[in-house]
């Protein structure tokens, strides 16, 4: 069994139903932890009862360990899940935003998540804080499009970078380090509570902490043990996934900054004709690319003359995602450099869209006059190929 469940990912309405259940659990646990009451959350910052740190860190450690153990057993592709779920890193706005959120938590007594729980508990101040969250977001949605806010909003862009990329160790080692950090933070928090603790702070029986930490330690050991498993079971050893010429064309045209195309054919062939934006990386030059040290912000696509079974090991050393162009340059040539046949009347909108892409691409790359436009088209698709290739007479 592999996660996330394919049956759910393919059906958004099922994901929505499960979303209500997940949210219910989230709200229920937050309330039972005491976060429906702003004062409970705030004691974190006065040092008298550090519930926020314990709950937040405990939750992160639990989820990290679960995900890393499953990834180690080959049931989950950790990086693919994280690329899907998390936002790319924008370091400076994230630090500034975190600071503002920290100040906002102390002033309002809620983080946006706990304000739902406060509203559910009937607290007027939670509703007011939630209204503030809405207005604040609208305000930034306006400002983020204007200078100088726009530049700052996009600054420090490092793409999808994970702690295991920065530290260059397997995720299981990062997870074990986080468990050790959590244990230290819990002990420190309890010491601070004893120093500053108001007499009202309930005395915590130490046994749950010990049992929880023992469980974390055991799971961390399991995660480390999975490193010794043969790699054949995990996603790491599988050949690089494939991308078809159409999907690559769309990425190269629509979002060229997200993809780095490496052409592995001999230099002469690559110099004569290549995919727009591709780098020539003949076999003898692969070691000089230093892929193991490159920041894994962009997806790498390798292009061979014909179909490649897998990317060469120098490129597999890249810590980001590596894909192989299915069919190699031959397939690209057939897709982009040969004039497309006009679609049959009554073709599906998707087929018409593909035809427009191919026609525009073909016209731009070969300088050939564009074929006659396909019949009855919505106007939207046609501008796309023109935008990046700077030519083409499509539509």
């Amino acid at each position: 069994m592999t996660f996330p469940l394919e049956a759910v990912v393919a059906r958004p309405e099922l994901a929505s139903v499960l979303g209500v259940l997940v949210g219910f659990g989230f709200g229920f646990v937050l309330e039972r932890a005491g976060f429906g009451d702003a004062r409970k959350l705030l004691r974190q910052f006065f040092g008298t009862e550090m519930v926020m740190l314990k709950v937040m860190f405990g939750a992160i450690v639990t989820a990290v360990l679960g995900a890393v153990v499953l990834a180690g057993l080959g049931a989950l592709d950790l990086r693919a899940l994280a690329d899907e779920v998390t936002s790319p890193t924008f370091l400076w706005p994230m630090i500034a935003g975190g600071f503002l959120v920290g100040v906002g938590i102390v002033l309002s007594g809620y983080c946006p998540g706990t304000s739902f729980v406060g509203i559910g508990s009937g607290k007027l101040d939670a509703a007011v804080a939630f209204a503030g969250v809405i207005v604040g977001q609208l305000l930034w949605a306006e400002l983020e499009l204007r200078e100088p806010f726009r530049t700052f909003h996009g600054s420090g862009a490092y793409g999808h970078v994970y702690l295991y990329d920065l530290l260059r160790v397997p995720p299981a080692v990062v997870a074990a380090a986080i468990v050790a950090m959590a244990a230290g933070a819990f002990l420190l928090a309890e010491r601070i509570e004893r120093l500053l603790g108001a007499p009202a702070a309930p005395a915590e029986p130490p046994s749950p902490r010990r049992r929880v930490l023992a469980g974390f330690g055991g799971a961390a050991l399991v995660a480390l043990a999975t490193l010794a498993l043969p790699r054949g079971t995990s996603a790491v050893a599988a050949p690089a996934p494939r991308i078809d010429p159409e999907a690559l064309a769309r990425r190269v045209l629509d979002a060229p900054w997200t993809v780095r195309v490496l052409d592995l054919r001999p230099l002469e062939a690559c110099a004569a004709a290549r995919i727009p934006g591709a780098e020539c990386a003949p076999p003898e030059a692969l070691a000089d690319l230093g892929m193991a040290d490159a920041v894994p912000a962009r997806d790498v696509v390798v292009v061979g003359a014909g179909d490649l079974a897998d990317a060469p090991p120098e490129i597999r050393a890249y810590r980001g995602r590596v894909q192989v162009l299915a069919g190699g340059f031959e397939a690209w040539k057939a897709f982009a450099l040969a004039p497309p046949e006009a679609p049959a009347p009554g073709a599906s909108p998707a087929a018409l869209e593909t035809h427009r892409l191919r026609a525009g691409l073909n016209a731009a790359l070969t300088g050939a006059a564009a074929p006659p436009p396909a019949p009855v088209l919505p106007a939207a698709g046609g501008a796309r190929p023109k935008k990046k290739t700077g030519g083409g007479g499509c539509g």
Binding site: K54, M56, A59, V61, A63, P93, V101, P112, F116
Partner: protein
């Protein structure tokens, strides 16, 4: 379930329970948690109902409705669930009571203005960081995203910096 308004779960066990909720979102839905996203979607839907032209002219709002109605989104369903979960937990614990939570020396008016101002900062910060404590710190942090960890440390830095300023509101 016994009703005891002053009894809460042990924070370590609550943390594990919250982690299991987050893990099940990853495993069964392939997604995470979030609270600021749904708030922005609610705002986009409200503005869209009053001034659709303005939403269309503002890309940061318009993209929320690109795939259908801005409220037809997984995180909005999570938010509905969060509200229900909080309501049921508060009711069954005997904590469901209308009121204003405030420190011993702060008046209701001061408290509500602080809640509004703090909420504004939460909103601006969450947009800047592309997520709030749930969507960015918890969800991204547990997937070991470097930016999420920087964000989380900055939350605690901001919180402790502001605690001194806000001591009259809460102590």
């Amino acid at each position: 379930m016994e009703r005891n308004p002053t009894k809460f779960w042990n924070p370590y066990l609550a943390g594990v329970a919250l982690g299991l909720v987050l893990l099940s979102a990853y495993l069964f839905v392939g997604k995470g948690l979030g609270a600021s996203g749904p708030a922005l979607r609610l705002a986009a839907a409200a503005v869209g109902a009053v001034a659709p032209g303005h939403v269309a002219a503002t890309p940061s709002l318009a993209r929320l409705g690109a795939d259908g109605h801005p409220l037809d989104h997984y995180l909005v369903f999570v938010a509905v669930g969060t509200l229900l979960g909080g309501l049921v937990a508060a009711y069954t614990a005997g904590r469901l009571a209308p009121g204003v939570t405030r420190g011993p020396s702060a008046g209701v008016r001061l408290r509500l203005w602080m809640a509004l101002g703090g909420g504004l900062l939460l909103g601006i910060g969450a947009r800047l960081a592309r997520g709030c404590a749930s969507g960015q710190a918890l969800t991204g942090g547990a997937l070991l995203s470097a930016g999420s960890w920087a964000f989380m440390l900055a939350i605690f830095a901001g919180g402790y910096a502001a605690a001194w300023l806000a001591r009259r509101e809460w102590r």
